[in-house]
Amino acid sequence: MIYVREIKPTDLLDHAGIPWTQSLPGLARGGDASRFAWTCCTPVRDETVSAGKSRLFRSIKDECDDRGKKSSLANMVTALNSGLRSDDYQEALKGISGINIKEAFSFQYQSKRHKVWEVKYQNKDRLYFFTLPQSSPQKLFLPLLFHHKNTQTTPSKITEYCEEVMKPFLSQDEQITIIRRKS
């Protein structure tokens, strides 16, 4: 059994201490605009682990530590907050200045090549994520880590973690439990 905790993209801003409710209240838009095509969630060890204790949120607390990085994160979340409402989130964000969604790296597992993606704003700050295969009935968008990238290549601690977390999801044997957010 693998566990994921449902989150909202704006939760990432809360955990970075970014006062979005005052400065970006449009992100909380409701009504028809509140429907998301993708469920955003982050892997947790089990149901006792809160989102705040997840590796994703810890990476935000650890690395999103100055105004520039917070601005980048705000831009990335603003983009995802919109893009994830569409089935084709990449198409929905095409042409948005500064936002780039691309393959970060890939690895071999069970005779297939699997991609880890990144959404980045400009050059350095990025959010690594993956999505469940399209064939899966559960359309999940899973951000894994926030990272301020200073090197040409992706650090091994990033690639190793992402690969380790993703493998159970890619196995057909494991059942995914989504711990729903209180609405």
């Binding site: 704006t10 006062p19 409710t21 909380a28 605009a33 831009n75 948005i96 200045s97 500064g98 609405s183």
Partner: protein
Amino acid sequence: MKDRNQEVRRRIEDESSMFRGSRRMDVALQIRERMLAKGLRNTDVAARLGVTEQNISRMLRGNQNLRLDTLYELADALEEPLTIMLGANAPASVASAVESLDPDDQQTGVAPREASGLRSANRDEWEALRLSADVVSLDAYRKFKPDLGGEGARRFARSMSGFGITEADERMCG
């Protein structure tokens, strides 16, 4: 008021550059969402406004400081109302912020709003607390309530309603 003005100015200087990109992007994205929902392409909006498709594409890149007139024209082209309201969204967005916080961090609480009815000494302390955080713990909030009396306290409690203030809290105000 002079001190308050300086505080607000400092916050604006600090935050405006942080949010400038996101604010512009969010407006463009909202327009694009409505276009998608209505099956409108850039060429359709361009035709409705009598401008080039490149013009619309540039407007919707998310990095433009769109004029108010342009925003209204885009809304008209989408046949959508454009609503600009100061503070109107605060309850929904703050409630969202409160519910999203991790209980383990013990930050679940209320959003510090403008505190009418506080006596002056408490008000300064409340304002300092409010500027330092988007939400304060319920314990911190309750610290100020005992100092309020009667109708002032009730008004304060009612102004926070929707953010987790219970009837019991109201009765405590006296």
